[in-house]
Symmetry: C2
Subunit: 406 residues, 2 copies
């Protein structure tokens, strides 16, 4: 039997390395040599890879790896050309894989990364190559099709909800009118912003308004709504997705200033949505307003992760190896929620063609844009994913991470 190679791609999560640990442990357990691509497919093209058996030597290393944020192997945002446009790059990849006798290829990533699995699988099939390609899901955005949810989402929700609970405490501490706007990641899908809804509990009133990018954002109605709420409550806390747009499809962050940059997938890099709304509210209400952008910490806060999430991430990695050993290729590991109370999932292998480049959004019936609320269904959907804690391994007061000696 040949060797395994595994890579990580796209934006990191707090638990992406748990999936890497799962692939590694299951591969090693089956006496396979496990290679790691350094900086994903982009690095592989430069023959940058490591033998993971040389890097992860002890059980403690494996535990550290699981709790290390961001992609241990490095990541990339690299889109393969269509095979009709350029076969050379494909031949190069396959020849590099041949050279190190790899016949099982795992890629941990979101819907852009699954495009890589799809294209490599398609090319390999067309050319009768004997390499299997399996995708391992990962994205804090939770916008992957078919799967109930994605590894990384639960920990991001736990961190976001915890932080928002703390910010609500902070924001309501003065006896003075003020509005806090919290900007949460999510260009087109508002899943993460949904985490703001789960803060409402016995000890917390929760956020006062929530806006997701699935629905048109009306600034005038928003200002009116805030004015109305302020009559009965001095401190308001509002959660918004970075990607909310007006009826013309213009992102709210672009309304006041031009600050968009395109990444290599043609996605706009957004920032300043909360900041813009904060300025608009300040002009209209006169009270103190402030913008809090949760920013990168949402995807790398491994100091406070969900036990359910890290365990599922690990198992998704080992499940990927198992289905490859069973002969699958061109598949992505997906979760099916078989029960919500008690929470239970089963893992399955699903055709990558249904998943690559597809964005799954929050169902419109879960969003009430007039009221600035979301439904209980969204809360019930998220809640099981944030349960339990796995704390970092602490050394000298700080979390210890595993570092690749590249």
């Amino acid at each position: 039997m040949g060797n395994i190679i595994v890579g990580q791609s796209g934006g990191p999560t707090a638990v992406i390395n748990a999936s890497l640990a799962g692939v590694f442990k299951c591969g090693k357990g089956n006496n396979l040599k496990v290679y790691g691509m350094v900086n994903g497919i982009q690095g592989l093209l430069e023959e940058k890879y490591v033998e993971l058996n040389q890097e992860i030597k002890t059980d403690l290393d494996l535990e550290l790896l699981k709790r290390t944020p961001s992609a241990y192997l490095g990541s990339c945002r690299f889109k393969l050309p269509n095979m009709e446009e350029d076969t050379e790059i494909y031949e190069k990849i396959f020849s590099i894989l041949d050279k190190i006798n790899v016949d099982k290829f795992f890629y941990i990533g979101g819907n852009d990364s699954m495009d890589t699995i799809k294209k490599l699988h398609t090319y390999g099939s067309a050319k009768n190559k004997k390499i299997q390609f399996i995708g391992v899901p990962k994205t804090i955005d939770n916008d992957l099709a078919v799967t109930d949810h994605t590894p990384g989402f639960g920990s991001a929700c736990k961190y976001i909800a915890t932080t928002i609970k703390e910010i609500i405490k902070d924001a309501t501490v003065y006896d003075a009118k003020n509005v806090t706007i919290i900007e949460i990641m999510g260009r087109n899908a508002g899943w993460l912003t949904g985490a703001a809804a789960i803060t409402k509990s016995e000890d917390c009133n929760g956020v006062d308004l929530i806006y997701l990018p699935e629905v048109v954002f009306d600034i005038e109605k928003f200002v009116k709504k805030v004015k109305k709420l302020q009559k009965n409550k001095k401190s308001l806390v509002i959660a918004i997705s970075e990607g909310i747009k007006n009826k013309n499809g213009i992102n709210i962050c672009e309304i006041e200033e031009e600050n968009t940059v395109l990444d290599c997938f043609g996605h706009k890099s957004l920032s300043g949505t909360a900041n813009n709304l904060s300025k608009i509210l300040h002009r209209n209400l006169g009270c103190k307003t402030r913008a809090i952008e949760l920013n990168t910490t949402q995807r790398c806060a491994s100091h406070f992760i969900s036990e359910v999430d890290i365990n599922e991430s690990f198992l998704a990695g080992s499940y990927a190896v198992n289905i490859a050993l069973n002969g699958e290729t061109g598949k992505v590991v997906v979760f099916e929620r078989t029960s919500n109370r008690p929470y239970n999932i089963v893992m399955k292998a699903h055709n990558v063609y249904d998943i690559a480049n597809v964005e799954k959004k929050v169902p419109l019936e879960w969003i009430n844009s007039e009221e600035g609320t979301v439904s209980q269904e969204l809360v019930d959907y998220i809640k099981p994913l944030i349960q339990g804690e796995v704390y970092p391994i602490m050394v000298d007061g700080l979390p210890k991470h595993l570092k690749l000696n590249k």
Copy 2:
């Protein structure tokens, strides 16, 4: 013997309620009735207070209180007038305190709040009032004079350093040139930004440059320095204080746009320093740059606090009650570090006149502004304060907080 009253003032910290718990527990242990001002002195003037014995009923309540972020009693930013200008407000305060038979007054806060203790003590002494006034130190900024450090600082450092370690992992994940600028709280004192220096360890290269507000920030030199570093390292992570200023004393956040507001103490409300520098670097270097403002979370992230800090905060509260019982007034609880290895402090009572309104800055000899570094002394000073962890009490996946039923 009379009753106790305790209030919280100024910006919250993650452990400010541990000091409140200390005052309460020690007061209750001495069979004293403990009142809490709601929204500090501002609320007291409106006769807003609660009987804490009615609110904190169980040992679990007390533990929850210690781990609840932001001021449990509410806070204020209220500056008392000089007694020469207005005696009426003082008479009102003393008459309210008389009404509920209070003879010991505790105020948990920073150097602005200590101004309140100073003025009340001064007025009370001049008018022969029999009320004792004691300050309990609190500020993430660590800019209080006389004391070795302040409760709240250690937890903020632990959170900032942990988050920066995670951001460094995230920022260095792609094999592409980029610069990340992390903005840390601190208008005039760079203590918190010093926490960025303690990230350097076996598993982390640390930040590449650090700039504190104590020293003039030269944008041209900065851009040159970054250009030079980028020749050998693709991903750079830079930590700056929000308050860094150029040689004309202009805050860097004000250079590109006018976005300053004064608070009631005449402090400028700053934001956007990292954002401005990020734009400047992008124009000069052409590579991807991004700004991360750590923001309010620095002072309210009670989900990840320092054990040393929360214990000292609690003890500072109970020590305050003890010195009052010993007859002290017009004093602030201060820490004296008697040893660094092993770390040890003793608490003392110090004259409030030396502390109110005084800002303690990072010693200039600990800062190398040419190199963008800080000295080992600053690292050695901070390290003992971040040791140990006290995790939240978790309920249904999220930290549980104690809520005041006001």
